[in-house]
Symmetry: C2
Subunit: 148 residues, 2 copies
DNA sequence: GGTATTCTCGACCATTCGAGTCAACATTGT
DNA sequence: ACAATGTTGACTCGAATGGTCGAGAATACC
């Protein structure tokens, strides 16, 4: 498994924040409920996202979390790298730790896959994710109408 | 990390076998030495590869392991899936375990990445890996000649 | 038949990582 | 003052990783 729950949950949370942009701070509890994330665990993810400047948090009553940038300025690659640390599919690609070629001989394949993956992740913004989700909702709504 | 040492070591071993195809059985100890794999650990990987029909093994003096198919009939995808079990980058892609779309909303990105990855892995055969390695060796030999 | 060589299989083990939980504390609106 | 909310670090518990080990089985060779 390349991604742990951190990446998944963290992105879910960011999608939620993006969806409620401009409505003031969103509380931890709300995010956790809507996105099915253990509340106490979500804390750590939000902390990480704050450290890396993706969100701002305010304490006290009516406090909560909100995006620190606009959704189209945030790409999936940076988000996930913040949450997961590194997305390298193999140890040896983590930094540049080139093995003796004679010993392994498959690094090049994984380097290509890694590059493609990063490119794709970099091309998807939080705004895209929200847009996709909204579209999905519309589809479901239409389908429901047909059933009725 | 998507791949554990199993995948890496296992593929290394297969490359080694492919490189010495037609020279009779290759011993565990030789593979382990050349490819820097703990000998006792390699056992388990070879066992798995045998179970899935990639290699044949013979016991007794002058025994060892050899490919059960030609190198161009073996692709990286099948190899790694045998060694690692599943290459799904996220839990939810492991089978078809579709989450409520409203909860997560990013599955589609990873589905695309997963598909691309599998396609690429399926397109690389053991023969390709050996060819790449040989080419690398030739380059190094040429470079060495210049130094002299 | 005996012995050396090699693979085979399962049990065992240590360490790390994943996924949380919890409690104490800081901040702020009313 | 007090209640709501976020912040932090310590802690836990189970699973996965990355091995090791030893008994046994097959086989070539003398
Ligand atoms: S050491 Fe990098 S792929 Fe094997
Ligand atoms: S549940 Fe599949 S990506 Fe979040």
């Amino acid at each position: 498994m390349l991604l742990s729950t951190k990446g998944d949950y963290g992105v879910r949370a960011m999608i939620d924040l993006a969806k409620h942009e401009g409505e003031g701070p969103v509380q931890r509890a709300e995010i956790a409920r809507r996105r099915q994330i253990p509340e106490a665990y979500l804390d750590h993810l939000l902390a990480q996202l704050r450290r890396d400047g993706f969100i701002r948090s305010t304490r006290g009553p009516a406090g909560g979390h909100q995006l620190a940038k606009t959704p189209d300025e945030i790409c999936l690659l940076h988000l996930l790298e913040s949450l997961e640390g590194s997305l390298a599919p193999m140890q040896c690609l983590e930094n540049d730790d080139p093995q003796e070629e004679a010993i392994c001989g498959q690094d090049w394949v994984w380097q290509e896959i890694y590059d493609d993956m990063r490119a794709k992740l970099a091309s998807v913004s939080l705004a895209d994710l929200v847009e996709h989700e909204r579209e999905h909702e519309r589809e479901r709504a239409t389908a429901a109408r047909y059933v009725i």
